[in-house]
Amino acid sequence: MFTEIKKHFKIYGHFLKYSIMEQLEYRANFILGIIVECTWLCTKLLYVFITQSTGALVGGYTPDEIMLYVGVFMILTALYVGLFSWNFYFFSWGVSRGELDMIMVKPVSLQFFMTTRYINISVPIPNIIGGTALIVIAWGRIGLEASIRNILFFILFLFGGMVVTYALFLIPHLSAFWTIKTQGITEISSRMWDFNNMPMQIYNKWWQRLGVFFIPVFVITNFPVMALFNNMSLLHLIWGFAVPAVMFIGIRLFWKVAISKYSSAGG
């Protein structure tokens, strides 16, 4: 078990090395990727700008708390786009072209290989810089004195949010094993990511329940921030720890079912 984990960490190190080498080889594309992401970043900052200029409470959050929330959203966007989203798109494209054959015979987990091998470096850079800046500024303005327990929960829920992101956004791409064209479904699912742009408290109770317990998209950004502000109910606290495990086991089982449909000729 330990040897396997060590082996996969080592392989991940190689993935990172080759991803950096590959992207730096096409420097113009690398820089263009950063510029395009900066334009997206500006649209996210617009939400902060609006709340700051109106001074209104949004879902019970003050403008400075919204700033912190958007900062966390940017960091999670960086992790999602940097670590997963490229792999998911290449994965469904590879399935439709029957390109899994050579990878299946490698002595490494197919799911691990197919869903983690590309690491995007350019897109996360503006998000990490912008997100960190927002968090630092907002933290100072709020004068937040979070306890060690709250910060620990924040980090744990941030990690849990990543696990939920991995599982939740991989599901639509697995439909590639049944239908060759998955673009429509995957586009819709990636738009779901934007639901993290604003706190879930802006939606009514039914939408919140749907987004927390059925399609746990609200868990991703809301829970770390709620932990930091120490305003989580006991149910949310328990669910926050349970849902990453449930989703990870769920996606592993679903992967096994999906892979059994692979016919190496597309669909």
Binding site: I35, C42, V58
Partner: protein, 269 residues
């Protein structure tokens, strides 16, 4: 007459494509709904706790009309053909247009408008339903003449956005992979056209700069007519400005086309 008939054939081709890829259109509409959905709840929360009934010159019903109609209009005016033009240039398939008795710009524009006819009909129906619902639920008020004027202006908005992105697609003459330029320009155009928020949110200084650019005539201008923020003179001036920008951006794209053709080697950028 023969000259017109070849373009009517291209329009029919565009309509056929739109019918064939109707699911794609449906998915695009659903995607647009997500953005509107988030904004709907966000603005409801902001207006609910703000001390002012009017924010950035918009009352709550007006803002709802704006964000919902902006989602619809931004969707229907979106292009996407810039990637096809870049492929034509990169792969050398542009050459066949150079020897055929059909000019490339009219071909692309007419094909684009043909593709959008179906979408236009759908958005007229969707918009009519949306405005009726907003009238009865939020008490949003509209003048019938303003709604009619807006739908007469939307084809000009479509044409303007198509010449803007035709102009942007000329970048493919100089760049092998121009996707970054297209994506970046897509986001910039979306924001500056008022496709996400009304331009008023940026403040007076930024807005006065954005008003000098052509983008606002794609979404912001037609929607301000529906919201009742414009008088007759403003509307006439806006239509004249739309036509001016269509001619000016087309002129720029002709210059870029001529410069680009000197670079074109029919074997990829």
């Amino acid at each position: 007459m023969k000259g017109i008939s070849k373009y009517t054939t291209v329009v029919k081709l565009g309509i056929q494509e739109a019918v064939e890829y109707r699911i794609d259109f449906l998915f695009n509409m659903i995607n647009g709904c997500f953005t509107v959905f988030i904004q709907f709840f966000m603005w409801t929360a902001i207006y609910g706790t703000s001390e002012n009934d009017v924010l950035y010159g918009f009352s709550y019903p007006q803002m709802m009309v704006y964000i919902i109609m902006a989602g619809i209009l931004a969707n229907v005016t979106s292009t996407g053909f810039e990637y096809e033009i870049a492929d034509d240039i990169r792969e050398g398939t542009l050459s066949r247009f150079l020897v055929q008795p059909i000019a490339y710009f009219p071909y692309r524009t007419v094909l684009f408008l043909g593709r959008k006819i179906l979408a236009f009909v759908v958005i007229v129906v969707v918009s009519a339903v949306t405005l009726t619902v907003l009238h009865f639920t939020l008490g949003a008020e509209f003048a019938a003449m303003n709604i009619l004027l807006t739908f007469l202006i939307v084809p000009l908005s479509l044409l303007l956005n198509s010449v803007i992105f035709y102009c942007v697609s000329m970048a493919a003459f100089w760049m092998t992979r121009a996707w970054g330029v297209f994506q970046g320009m897509g986001v910039i155009s979306m924001v500056l056209s008022g496709g996400i928020f009304p331009l008023d949110v940026f403040g007076e200084t930024a807005k006065s700069i954005f008003m000098l650019l052509p983008f606002q005539y794609v979404v912001y201008f037609p929607l301000n007519i529906i919201c009742g923020n414009m008088n007759g003179n403003d509307i006439l001036f806006g239509i004249a400005a739309q036509i001016f920008w269509i001619v000016a951006v087309y002129g720029l794209s002709r210059i870029l086309w001529r410069l680009g053709m000197k670079k074109y080697i029919a074997a990829g950028g």
